[in-house]
């Protein structure tokens, strides 16, 4: 059995376990069988279907989106430290989302999708700005250059958000709670809002799995191998921004998922993007469901923002990858 095959089996198993825990564990213990047992207790059934299940699904979608977007950004930029958060793309998406909330924008034909669409636009614009600026600074786009550029943009966009919060009136509470990053009390409507974009974004990235493999050897090399680099790059940037924008729109800024998950996946199952992308998707979902479970149980009844948990795991991993790359003399 190949390494990848083992990867799929283990990852799916992990996801199932995560869902099981996410559904059954909490202030009220509910057996997982409530999901399919028609004769189950009405209160338990309500908890599972109205509260826990949408939460688990949303956490799964957000985790999957961030993880696969991170994997794609890392491949595209040949940079193991790239992820929506470190690149500043999440901040861009936040600005898009906060702007929507701040001005109460609602585009008629977009309906409930107004928020994710604006968030995506924010993500995409930031992505292009970060890459263009990094290229301007250093043609070779070294690992550190890209990350520093990401920090510059994050800081700037963060201050834009703070400014808007300071100017905001009654919308303040909504924005603050959203900013901290959480998947609680979102309900099925958020799942509905996110699902189509997660599907399209994931598809866009998955279609470029082999192209990403080629681009790991540099854009020129990929071009020589027959990859239409311009077009493929655009597809990946749009796909990644779409996923980041959606994740931010429904859950706020949750950092490091896109860094930790692809890295662990590569470490365990190899760095072939044909497998790294789908495996990151599955593992990202599992990881965020678990993180969410921890965030709502660790100091219950108070809930910790989920971003705290991911940063707690993510920052050391970030440091570890950075250390290893420098030791290797890589990039």
């Amino acid at each position: 059995m190949s390494k990848a095959m083992i990867g799929y089996i283990l990852s799916i198993a992990a996801l199932l376990v995560a869902i099981w825990l996410g559904v059954s564990v909490g202030s009220v213990k509910v057996p997982i069988s409530t999901l399919w047992d028609t004769g189950a207790d009405a209160i338990a059934s309500n908890i599972v279907w109205k509260i826990r299940m949408p939460r688990v699904v949303l956490a799964g979608l957000v985790g999957a989106s961030l993880a696969i977007a991170g994997a794609a950004f890392q491949g595209l930029l040949k940079n193991p430290l790239a992820d929506p958060y470190t690149l500043g793309v999440s901040s861009g998406a936040s600005v898009g989302a906060v702007t929507t909330l701040f001005f109460g924008i609602s585009v008629p034909f977009l309906g409930i999708f107004t928020l994710p669409v604006f968030s995506m636009i924010g993500a995409l614009v930031t992505m292009f700005l970060v890459i263009s600026f990094a290229k301007l600074v250093d043609r070779a786009m070294k690992m550190e250059t890209i990350i520093l550029t990401g920090i510059i943009f994050s800081s700037f966009l963060g201050s834009v958000i703070s400014l808007m919060i300071a100017l905001t009136g009654e919308e303040l509470r909504q924005i603050i709670s959203w900013l901290l990053g959480s998947v609680s009390m979102r309900g099925w409507s958020f799942v509905q809002m996110a699902f189509p974009f997660v599907l399209i974004g994931t598809l866009l990235l998955w279609l470029n799995r082999r192209e990403l493999n080629a681009m790991l050897f540099g854009e020129e090399r990929a071009q020589h191998l027959g990859v239409n680099v311009k077009k493929r790059k655009m597809m990946i940037l749009i796909g990644g921004s779409m996923l980041t924008g959606t994740a931010v729109a429904v859950s706020g800024t949750i950092g490091f998922v896109g860094l930790v998950v692809p890295h662990m996946t590569r470490l365990l199952f190899g760095s072939d993007n044909r497998h790294v992308l789908p495996l990151s998707f599955i593992n990202g979902a599992a990881l965020l469901i678990i993180c969410d479970l921890v965030s709502r149980t660790i100091i219950a009844p108070t809930e910790l923002p989920i971003g705290v948990i991911t940063a707690f795991i993510g920052a050391p991993v970030f440091a570890f990858i950075f250390f290893r790359q420098r030791k290797k003399g890589g990039i």
Binding site: P80, F217, V227
Partner: protein, 489 residues
Amino acid sequence: MLQVENVSGGYNRQLIVKNVSFHVEKGEMLGILGPNGSGKSTLLKVISGILHKESGDVLIDGKSLHAYSSKELAKKMAVLPQLHSHAFSHTVRDTIALGRYPHQSGLFASWSNKDEAAVNLAMKQMGIEKYEHHMLDLLSGGEQQRVFVAQALAQQAPILLLDEPTNHLDIAHQKQLLDTIKTQANENGMTIISIFHDINLASLYCDRLLLMDQGEVKVIGEPHEVVMKEQIETVYKARISTNPHPERPKPQITILPDIKEWREEKLITIENFQVTEELVVFQAEHQLKTWSSAVINAGTGWYRTFVNRRVDAHYNIDNAQTEMQQFLTNRGYSETETVGMMTAVYTKDAVIKQYDGDFGSVIIMVTAGVGNAVDVAKAYEVEAMPAIGTINTWIIINGELAEEAFIQAVITATEAKTKALAYEQVKDPRTGTIATGTSTDSVLVAATQQGAHIPYAGPITEVGKKIGLGVYECTVEAIQTYKKAKGWE
């Protein structure tokens, strides 16, 4: 197959390649040469479509490069750029498999038997099957380079562009790689364009060479039309000398260093000779440029010690080379710095004389045994076996001899020797005519390559006159001594 027409291009509107035109036929291997910064890599990038060209056109099978889609182009042309580092680790097999990208299509892009066969063949051609499942970043630079060549080969495109493919490779792998590529050209009609740093490798393997200078084509043609002393010196701004390849009709170059006083000037004299019971030995402080027909280290080379060894008449000459080598090693003479000859004559009978001239001086050493004297003009009439009994002539010159002067020195010495034999009435016993030499005569010309430049050494030159006189006198004296020793007189 591939036509480049008036192509100009570069970075940021600054033209690095200017008005380059050439064409390459199917199955041809074209080498691109030029000093650093002459635009070789830029030209290759323009041809491969990576860099936008300002003007001109590149045609593949009569169709403009830009009329091809990315995948179509990759099916026509594989490119191997200079080695780059990368951030993530792939296995060797996965890396080579990427070469099949242009041949795969559809949503799931299934891996066909043809893809599998192409990858396996490419690995075999580059001799990297044993690394198949290794991680690329754990291989050495040379091994990685071979993996990338295999990736390009797996692409199975009729045109292959290479940028210094032998970078990072040791000579065995350089040879293996170029042999493999050349075989692709010869047997499968692959068209190859490759940048070379190494002029000798380019000359050896390519059908034609293109020499670039400051972004323009200086010359394009067969290796002998491109690898010419003045041309290479002008373009590369380095002193070189050309010489033939020992096996192939391709010119090779050698760098001539500009370091002055690389060794102090040292005259050689008759004092450098030493005669023992067994040996006549000449020993110089510095190596001399030597041209000889000796038993050990014949041909051209730089040697410090010359040995003329006496062996008796029953010496078994079938195994002479090995025995002589062994003998010299046992006596402590360096295998790589010693020229060895043999004679049946007593070493005390060797005639050694010095002749001084305006150019420098000539020292002659002759040992003559004329028991096997032969008249070369009648030699076809009789059967003769090689035997001991020979005339060994050494001509050692203080001066800097040109190539042709070495040859002329040998002619002059041979003529003088023949004259000496005639004077001494030495006859070929089988034909009864005047002999011209013996069946196994040997000659050695050596020069210090310091002091006066000596372009010629014919009989009307200063040095030729000394050689003629010296060899004649010494040979006559040696023959007379030989006759006395044999009791002929």
